[in-house]
């Protein structure tokens, strides 16, 4: 099948019709979008590679597509944004037949449309191994996007759910992006991040960006089957971690895990009185 025939099929699978902000989708040199007035645009890109982020023995085609979309949507959630459009650059290997590719798009499209997101374009090519780069565009009211760098000493640290789930499940599950919760945090949270690489590393990043340290309570919301190591360093949970000024009531669904502190060694995290190493998922330190 030729490239143009694939693209015709993908257009049908994703049902990417024009309308409501999408002037022209798949099929031209660029997609044409009409941004809503008074809002900032959010852009995230996430590369998923066979053998690095995707193991065929762990995920079905449908799950792989859903996960590719969910990772990008989670970044929009972490900014308190509304997700709008998704673009997929896909390299199809020889082992992926039409049925596999169709199931991948089915998982991707289902995850996207459940969150009101339309597939607006992308790129398609061949490769030895599967590569999927997902770009998600979202928006937020002007100046209201949540950042990593706004936490202050004294702010309380929260997470949106039990940790260690992905690691305990052997990374076989598809995360659910916390878009609704992210929107509720707009105007309340001082900082926010999604836990893609593990609590220790991602909280360290918030502390470094904000110029703070963190003191964890020593008790974490953890799924029953996870070890403490998996909860702290496992990654891929895609829960939100955020900070709120002391005294601000958190929206439902958040659990307190500690507090931001001052201190000289910016980025240092203490857990149960001991210094926590800022390690987690890092493709440059694997295998």
């Amino acid at each position: 099948m030729r490239e143009d025939a694939w693209i015709d099929r993908i257009r049908r699978w994703t049902a990417a019709r024009a309308g409501a902000g999408l002037v022209a989708g798949i099929g031209d040199d660029c997609a044409v979008l009409r941004p809503a007035a008074g809002r900032d645009l959010l852009v995230t890109t996430d590369l998923m590679l066979e053998g690095v982020h995707l193991r065929r023995d762990l995920l079905s085609a449908q799950q792989a597509g859903a996960k590719a979309a969910a990772r990008g949507l989670s970044d929009i959630a972490a900014m308190g944004g509304d997700a709008r459009f998704l673009f997929l650059s896909l390299a199809v290997p020889a082992w992926a037949d039409r049925r596999w590719v169709r199931a991948f798009f089915s998982g991707l499209t289902e995850m996207a449309s459940r969150h009101g997101v339309r597939i607006a374009g992308g790129d398609l090519t061949r490769a030895e191994k599967l590569a999927a780069d997902v770009v998600v565009l979202g928006d937020a009211p002007r100046g209201k996007a949540l950042r990593r760098d706004g936490a202050r000493a004294g702010d309380v640290i929260y997470v949106s759910g039990a940790l260690g789930r992905a690691a305990a499940a052997g990374f076989r599950d598809v995360p659910e992006p916390r878009l609704e919760l992210g929107r509720k945090l707009r105007g309340r949270a001082t900082a926010c991040i999604d836990l893609s690489d593990g609590l220790a590393l991602d909280l360290h990043r918030v502390c470094k960006a904000s110029g703070t340290c963190a003191e964890l309570d020593g008790v974490l919301p953890t799924v029953p089957e996870a070890t403490l190591d998996q909860a702290l360093f496992g990654g891929e949970d895609y829960e939100l971690l955020c900070t709120l000024p002391a005294g601000v009531r958190p929206p439902q669904g958040l659990e307190r895990i500690g507090v931001m502190t001052g201190g000289r060694a910016k980025g240092e995290i203490r857990f149960a009185g001991r210094r926590l190493e800022p390690r987690g998922w890092d493709p440059f330190r694997q295998g």
Copy 2:
């Protein structure tokens, strides 16, 4: 070197400071952009893979970076847009040391900034082979972006330069995106595309989208060293092909190559009286 250390370096190499539409660049879950009022947003993604679109024996690191940027910028040119922001998802293989990666970013950043484009974000990971997905965001006055589907029978077909250059050079050169010319075509051209996959295939795409056929004059602007086959089917020239209504004077730099016609077999191209096969660069038909 850890992921975060790489990202710190990349931030320095690309000098992606905030300002003029860029509220927050590299370093958060998303980039935050402030789109200009009254303009449509253009989005294009281009995946470049080692062994498919990139051969290390043909291009230096700097050239590879420049070419990755140029391919995306060329898509914005084809829409008559102004290019604004570039995002790069990069998978770094073991053979690419710090020096190679730095030279790649140097080529990418130089090409981008020469066209007023800022590096606003991306993703970074490890892989066995190099993969680079370039996303370019641009804009155009509302409703003025050039499309593929507006050509009508009787329109004159033009190209922006001599064809076959890339193929004759063994695909060793870095194309120059025709952004200035693209902008001049706004409000004048009825359709436009960039010649990434070769004249025959890309013109066929314009004809299919517009519901026309094409009659080429039989004489093409060709670089002296290229064969006719390379000019027709070679690809990667990244010149613009556009159509203007008969009687509309083309901007400087365009050469007439034929005329759009009616006819039943939409997409059919005739060259020197014979039917031209719509073939060219297609990753699904290579090797």
